[in-house]
Subunit: 446 residues, 2 copies
């Protein structure tokens, strides 16, 4: 019923006294978070969200999901960054990386507005043009380029298909509670709206309406998801390293970073976890990667990637440590029958479940990598269901905040993301950027 932190495979790399040496920093970080006295403390709404979330809105989310499931073969989710990754990650982890291909009672879900690729946009259009669909547009301001461009397109398609009134009933806007162009439009057009809170940043928003509406549309039990997160919130509320595996994980990864490890590889043994790893990469990369600091977050799915990145992990430059998600019971198992002729010589694997083979691959890999000098942190989960995944999400969110404070950065801002946007606007001739444009074009052409 909880994430267990298995430190067995760290003993050659981190001494017990080193954790003692971190307890002060962890205590300080905990106080900063609790007293809201640290950097970025305007963005701590996620901390008690599993308890304080808007219950009326939560009920509306479930109702909207039921309506979408009833009247739509496809849901288009329009958003980028934190307004995209969390929902996709949870849906794939709980349902399948092949969710859209599988038979199911819930709509297909495609994500748009997360790139500026015209090829991809054309493809999504072709996937919905002969089917009933709805749109969930997720943007705090309504002016972020990628989702705003996509929303223009799919809104037009809805109006063409269902008329102005029919379209209104198929657009769900997750946006600011009071201001911004999307909020204004939604009010004017009477779209159903859900709130992106001011104090919950994009990468911490999966357990708000941002993530919950698409997740509910996929048929996931969002009550259980929130319950898992809530239990995690209560478990991880104490500063004592001996009693708080979440803080302990934050301390351990900072110890490894200070000892010269430069990248953390999040490893899972299920393909369906790949997008959760992308979510983790945003959470940690955007929170810690600043002021020329921070662990580089990377990921792999084993055993698949043991046949691609495995060589590097085992024997390449000693940059990495691994954090491995160890799910004890798979969502579905498969019994391996004996094959009479045994031409492949694999009958020694027969008459047991495939999950047992996957487990031995995991154990064998951890032992091999540890012998190769790669520290391994193991996060044990009983299974990959809504409750446990909610637990894990909160585990990572809080570990990330504590980790950022230990590192000495503001875990809740992302000033570096503005740099490319400013340049892009200038190069595209956005009014007000004329001076920058001339300077940038000079750089491009010199």
């Amino acid at each position: 019923m909880a994430i267990k932190l298995n430190e067995r495979y760290l003993k050659n790399f981190v001494g017990t006294h080193e954790l003692c040496g971190m307890s002060g920093a962890v205590q300080t970080a905990h106080e900063q978070l609790t007293a809201k006295s640290g950097m970025g403390s305007d963005f701590l709404g996620w901390v008690d969200l599993p308890e304080t979330y808007d219950k009326a809105e939560f009920a509306r989310i479930k109702k909207a999901a039921a309506k979408i499931t009833a009247d739509s073969e496809v849901l288009i989710v329009i958003g980028i960054g934190g307004s995209y990754l969390g929902a996709r990650a949870v849906i794939e982890a709980l349902k399948s990386s092949l969710y859209n291909s599988l038979k199911k009672p819930t709509p297909d879900i495609y994500f748009a507005g997360n790139s500026i690729s015209p090829t991809y946009l054309n493809e999504i259009i072709s996937l919905v043009d002969s089917r009933d669909f709805s749109v969930n547009v997720i943007s705090k301001s309504g002016t972020t380029t990628e989702p705003a461009l996509a929303f223009r397109v799919f809104r037009d398609m809805l109006v063409e298909k269902y008329g102005e009134d029919g379209a209104k009933a198929r657009i769900y806007a997750t946006t600011d509670a009071a201001r911004g162009t999307l909020k204004e439009l939604a009010d004017k057009m009477q779209y159903e709206t859900f709130t992106i809170a001011d104090d919950v940043g994009g990468r911490f928003s999966v357990l708000s309406a941002v993530g919950l509406l698409p997740i509910a549309c996929a048929g996931c039990d969002i009550d259980a998801l929130m319950q898992g997160a809530g239990d995690a919130m209560r478990e991880y509320s104490v500063p004592d390293l001996d009693k708080n595996p979440c803080y302990r994980y934050a301390a351990l990864r900072n110890i490894l970073y200070r000892k010269g490890k430069r990248a953390e590889m999040l490893v899972a043994y299920e393909n369906s976890f790949a997008m959760m790893s992308e979510w983790y990469k945003q959470l940690f990369g955007e929170s810690e990667g600043k002021d020329k600091k921070g662990l580089l977050p990377v990921s792999a799915v084993f055993s698949t990637d043991l046949h691609s990145l495995g060589q590097y992990v085992q024997d390449g430059a000693p940059l990495l440590f691994e954090t491995v998600i160890d799910v004890k019971t798979p969502q579905k198992d498969f019994f391996l029958k004996e094959c009479p002729e045994n031409s492949d010589g694999l009958n020694f694997l027969s008459n047991r479940n495939m999950s047992e083979v996957n487990r031995k691959a995991f154990e064998g890999t951890v032992l091999a990598h540890v012998e190769g000098g790669v520290p391994n942190i193991i996060l044990e989960m009983p299974e990959l269901n809504e409750y446990e995944l909610g637990y894990l999400i909160y585990f990572f969110e809080k570990a990330c905040a504590i980790s950022g404070y230990i590192l000495g950065v503001n875990p809740f801002d992302q000033p570096g993301v503005e740099s490319y946007k400013k340049n892009m606007f200038a190069l595209l001739g956005k009014p007000g950027f004329e001076a920058e444009r001339a300077a940038l074009e000079k750089l491009l052409n010199e």
Copy 2:
């Protein structure tokens, strides 16, 4: 008609004299490759493959693809590592990351046998059990655990569905020319077979039958793919750094590595390139990641990941340089109409093609990242079609070989991949591994 190496955004990071300083090492690497005198020279079959490939087999590949297209709604491709990534990467890059969801005259293609996840295996089974399908099993030995287990399952399904004879006509085995359990079985059962050459390692095999059969089944023009690779082979045959952009790229990435960059991020601006980046990660990671050396290969799709990893790249620890794939013309474009009310304020983007916005995002990002201290190597391609992708594949393969020799490693072996396999076999009780098993179980339980 070729890859252009744009070095404009390296000038703050690499001096011209530094490239001169690498010319000797590059010359030596070139001679090792040409004279087959370097490490791993038993595995150089890929070097002239675009010219020397078996034309009769090539014709059989096209014929088999036509038959599969005619009699199958689904092709299951069973393979792992190099027997999986190349085909999937090329199909997604040329056709779509949503290939299976889109309407098309060619079969759906699902990849199996690339993990030990029972959940995933069950899903693939559910996707074919009511449809006509064929299987392409790709394994040199026939005993690699992941594909062998999957092949047992899908072979049984075929026999149950079509009878023993019907199944035979739907199984295509890509394997060793002369020996191994899969070859023996294929001969006995009279499967159509294609060859995995002894001198072409898995990660260099995409332009052999390993990659070509699935790629042809997706409706890609494999003649053009080989022609592009062949033209690249001829262009990149000279050792002079001024005339060989492939070698120049190899030299530049080694210069950056020696200056302290520890990871190379391959960046593309099309979602459909994501699996090509996975292919690149295997190619370079497995070739260079040994003897505690090598650049860590990572990847991103922009602008999507500018909203997740962008902050780290811009302002995180200065570990990274970027190699950016700059495709000049997209596969499909999209014209951005004006929106009368302009509520999102984006009408400054109207009345032009979306590809232009994507291009400005690319230019703006490069300038921002360079200003943030991140060297950028740009690989320019006219478009993403069969010919150009064949060119690019060969570019990376040869750059990887030269790069590995410059680094002082054997670019063609992967000794580290054996470590986990040995442990896994022992833990699973494979006959002959009894002593190792006891030692490993002690480690797991102490």
